[in-house]
Subunit: 339 residues, 2 copies
DNA sequence: AAATTCAGAGAAAACGTTTTCTCATTTGAC
DNA sequence: GTCAAATGAGAAAACGTTTTCTCTGAATTT
């Protein structure tokens, strides 16, 4: 059988007893408030640390109405977007002693409701909602909760605080990079038009290229990238000398298709992806230059914001767009390996 | 500014007042214990539900010493293994009202210690440790904690409960499948020999093939799969008619290399991967037949086990190996598309 | 009719903290 | 040498539950 040592937990009573003071004095000593002699304060602190006292967060939370706990709600099963966001949230909050409940609710409203209620019962200080696309909301209503809610990479309610990537900026980065290395016939191969991000990136692409270069809408898969190349090379007229792809999977499919046709990347066609999904981008041959949405930073800011709200600090509602970053690998030439 | 409606939270005092009973009676009514008239009990319950009462888990936990909260500790940044495990844990525990703290500690002992202490302060009922390989332990000592610890897909301490996949079983499944479809010259291309899983799979492969067919050790990347094919096809003697690869990335690299050489998969060479990492396995052309380690089920069992321990139910220590499952796609012929 | 059981319900303690209040003693000012 | 202020520390209430104990009547038994 598994032994827990059945160690009794050490409470402030033990500290008080060991230091020969009252519980209230012990508490005040440890929290650096109240009035007492320096010697007493130091002695209490030393004793507490010696016997390994750690205050019970449940008891503390009961009184302070702060549980130092927040919930991260997501419907992104794959974790493609959630993991970096989660990493950022956690990183920002661990220093404040805040732990994070992760709740994956798929697209199940009942499950979502379940998780939200469980979190509220546990008195979370706030909730961060995140998802897999910025123009869809989670299948659960978070609009009248007794705790602050911040949206990150998912659609929020009016008057809420929402963080998202600036996809237009990312697309502009990509296109301008391709133009800088001298490419002029840039084609945009991307996902389904009903994604807001897709339209936003396509618009930025059109603005940056100056004319309405062809935009090929499809799905988010490698095989669409592959097919798109077939389609482009089948038609007459000038062939592109660069591709800006809507995500790394499409880009990978396109790069593979080009290689199969004996077309050199990046010499004949330069390729830029989107997402910086390491597992795809770094394993493509050649590794993909791609746009990173800085989801970790997004998570960090969402974390700090929900903390601010929980502490009653005022935060202006609205949508905050965070800039993207171009990660240069070898699919455009330019800089050599960076990994 | 963001408005929280500053809704006062409803306590059992409100329920008692609204129902015209004492707090103790209200509590007993809601928990179906104590003695009182049926009418009283029903009235309290109705009132509670009407005014939307939900008990404060902090207060409850303070008394019962159960927080209905567990921690999941991982050093698998990518989430490749953690996400399915987490999904299983969460799925198994949500019905019991248990929420899960996810703590990604990378390989940083200080960060790990931080997170563990934060969780203990919050009185978690137990901790599940998980990681990225079964023969390494987390960079933090979990052996003398006041709460139960269960290990899942990471190395545990002596006398602990550890769940892991049965890699020998998985490898046997793969090889036997290849033999069933008539392949006789099966080569095993796999990862670094210092991984315990690698040795275990290789041993099972040797046992199943009956002789010491060649095992090619390398790294966990597509390019190694690619290189391995180059090496195999450069050397003299019989060419393999099947490959059993140590993970899906290697398998994908191998499949790509075969295609580039004009060798048909699965007609000339059948390929089986390992991991069933959707993003790799399903996007390979042809999609990979691969071994799934059933990490979600592993997580589910780990969750139920830590719950049992938290409730004081006895659990035998030891390593539990869970069977794998072969996911048939098209890289071996056999069944047609299943996705 | 007195003694016993039992149903129904409330009072109070407990969980581990923090915080406000109170009290006794010492210090400083006149 | 008296009085006000400051200092050091403890008592007690509070947070929202659950649980044990106690109390009051009424029903049942002798």
């Amino acid at each position: 059988m598994v032994d827990l040592g059945s160690r009794k937990r050490i409470t402030i009573h033990d500290v008080a007893a060991a230091a020969g003071v009252s519980i209230s004095t012990a508490s005040k000593a440890l929290n650096n408030n109240g009035r007492m002699g320096d010697e007493t304060r130091e002695r209490v602190k030393r004793v507490a640390s010696d016997i390994g006292f750690r205050p019970n967060a449940l008891a503390r939370g009961l009184l302070s109405k702060r549980s130092f706990t927040i919930g991260l709600l997501t419907n992104d099963t794959y974790g493609r977007f959630t993991l970096p966001v989660m990493a950022g949230v956690s990183e920002a909050l661990v220093d404040h002693g805040v732990s994070v409940f992760l709740c994956a609710i798929e697209d199940d409203p009942a499950l979502g409701q379940n998780h939200v209620e469980a979190m509220l019962d546990k008195q979370v200080d706030g909730i961060i909602a995140t998802g897999k696309r910025i123009d869809r909301s989670l299948p659960v209503d978070l609009s009248n909760l007794p705790v602050p809610v911040v949206y990150a990479f998912t659609e929020g309610t009016r008057d809420s605080v929402t963080f998202r990537s600036d996809d237009a900026h990312g697309a502009t980065l990509a296109v301008e990079w391709l133009q800088q290395i001298g490419r002029r016939r840039i084609v945009h191969i991307t996902g389904p038009k009903d994604f807001f991000s897709v339209r936003e990136r396509a618009d930025a692409y059109c603005t940056a290229t100056g004319d309405t270069e062809p935009v090929l809408y499809g799905v988010w898969s490698e095989s669409w990238g592959h097919d798109a190349i077939d389609r482009l090379w089948k038609r007459s007229g000038d062939r592109p000398d660069a591709l800006f792809c809507g995500n790394d999977q499409i880009a990978r499919g396109a790069v593979d298709a080009l290689r199969e046709r004996g077309i050199k990347v990046p010499e004949e066609v330069a390729v830029v992806g989107f997402d910086n999904w390491e597992i795809v981008a770094a394993q493509t041959r050649p590794p993909l230059t791609t746009v990173d949405m800085e989801l970790k930073e997004l998570g960090r800011q969402a974390g700090l914001t929900v903390l601010a709200l929980a502490e009653g600090r005022p935060v202006k509602p609205g949508v905050r767009k965070l800039p993207c970053r171009l990660v240069v690998r070898q699919s455009c030439g330019g800089k050599p390996s960076e990994d």
